[in-house]
Structure formats: C-alpha cells, structure tokens
C-alpha cells in the first residue's frame, strides 16, 4: 500500500485527479474510524472525513514521503478533530448528559455493550476541555506511546506528559462527581 500511496501522491501533485480519488477511497474508512473518536454523529463524521481529505490535498506538497502516508494523514485527522472539539465547545457549553445509559447496565458496568460503553465514554470525555480530551483519547483509547502522541499533536514529549497528568486529574474528579468511579470498584 505504501508504494501505491507514494505513486498516487506524486501523481496527485502533478494534477492527476484520479490518483487522489484512489487515495481517498483507500484511506477514508480508516480515517472514519479515527474520526469516530471525535463525534458520534454520522453527518458530522462525514464532514470531518471530508475536511481531512480536503486539508490533506491542500497540504500534499508538504508530504515528503519520509514516513507512511497514513501516518501523515492521521496527523491531519488529529488536527481536524481537535479543531472540531474546540469549535463545538466555543459554540455551546452544554454537554451530553453523563447518565444516558439505562437499565441493568446502569447498575453493572460489566454488562455494557459496545454501543453503551461508547456512549458513556463519549459523554464522559465531552465534559473535558479539548486538550485534555485529545491527550486521553490518544494515550488511552488509541493506546499510543507518548512519543507518538507528541508526533500527532505537534506538542513536545514533556508537554504531552504534563497535559496527560492534568487530564487524568480532571477525569478523576469527573468520575467521582458522576458516581462512575464507585460503580467500577
């Protein structure tokens, strides 16, 4: 795939629209999976994936081919997602209610199915500032090492560690306030 990506990037830079079409088709589902961390709304998801590929095309000249194309694309996706969170937080202070999980799952977190767990996770993270949310998402949900988080965000390694420490502290308070930490003991 790497070889095909490199060829298609080169062809796209020479104005071959079909080559960029192939790149979009090849990577859009993987980018959708990444952006699914940033929104739970299908329309927003499509907009985010679209924005990633438009931004990637405009920045394509900056891709030097030193690493895999999808790593470079994922960095753009992280930026687009982070901006989306910041914009949304500015527009509206309201958050998804944390207690929108119901029935038996409310009493026993072990019974959560994937959809419920995803909803609780999203509601929980939605209450954190975008920077905290980003670092926790990359470190604990995407399970990236600190160095990779630094690469994705453009922050220094020290900055990532400090940010993660602060974010965990806020998350702890949030879990205690919502009563979720008791349910998980």
């Amino acid at each position: 795939m790497d070889q095909a990506d490199q060829q298609d990037v080169a062809a796209s830079l020479h104005g071959d629209g079909r080559a960029y079409e192939r790149l979009v088709r090849r990577h859009q589902q993987q980018i959708a999976a990444r952006m699914w961390r940033f929104t739970r709304d299908r329309t927003e998801l499509e907009e985010l994936v679209h924005d990633v590929f438009v931004e990637a095309y405009l920045a394509l000249g900056g891709y030097k081919g030193r690493g895999p194309f999808d790593h470079w694309l994922n960095r753009i996706a992280t930026r687009v997602g982070y901006r989306f969170w910041k914009r949304r937080r500015k527009q509206s202070a309201q958050t998804v209610p944390l207690r929108d999980w119901d029935g038996p799952a409310r009493d026993d977190p072990a019974n959560l199915d994937a959809e419920q767990a995803q909803r609780v996770l999203h509601a929980l993270m939605d209450r954190l500032p975008p920077r905290d949310r980003l670092v926790l998402t990359l470190m604990y949900l995407e399970e990236m090492p600190v160095a990779k988080v630094a690469g994705q965000t453009g922050w220094s390694v020290t900055m990532v560690k400090v940010q993660a420490h602060r974010a965990r502290k806020k998350l702890r308070v949030l879990l205690e306030e919502s009563g979720l930490s008791e349910l998980f003991t």
Partner: protein, 84 residues
Amino acid sequence: MNEQEILRRLAGAAGGSVPPLVDVTDWVLRDLAAARRRRVDPLLGWFAAAAAAAAMVITSMASGAWAQWQDPLAELFRTTAVIP
C-alpha cells in the same frame, strides 16, 4: 479502580463499536475541483482582458486609426525640420 483503568475498561467495552461506512470521495473531488476553478478563474479573467486590449490595438492599427493619430506628430516634425 483508578481513572486510567476505568477509561481502558470503557474503551475495551466500546471496542466493538464499528464506525458507519462513509464514502466522501465524490464530495471531496467536487470541492477540490471548485477550489481549483476559483483559483483559475481570476487568472483567466486577466488573460482575457489582456488579450482583448491587444486585439483592440491591432484592429485600430489595421484600420488606419493609428496612422491618423500619428499624423499630427509627423506633421509637427516635418515643420520643425524646415525652420532655418
């Protein structure tokens, strides 16, 4: 259980949540084509204006207007040349 473990456990449980299938290919290509047109159209406008101006000059020269405009000057030089 600390906050990291809770987060990991939730993420583990949510692991099976599959994102919906998306296909934004046409939308992306359409927007990129429109952006290219927006960049190219002003250039085409300048080129068209320059070509129209050049065409007007050539037409006026060919139709004798250029010569008429030149004549008074030529006459003036002829007049000054014969003054002793």
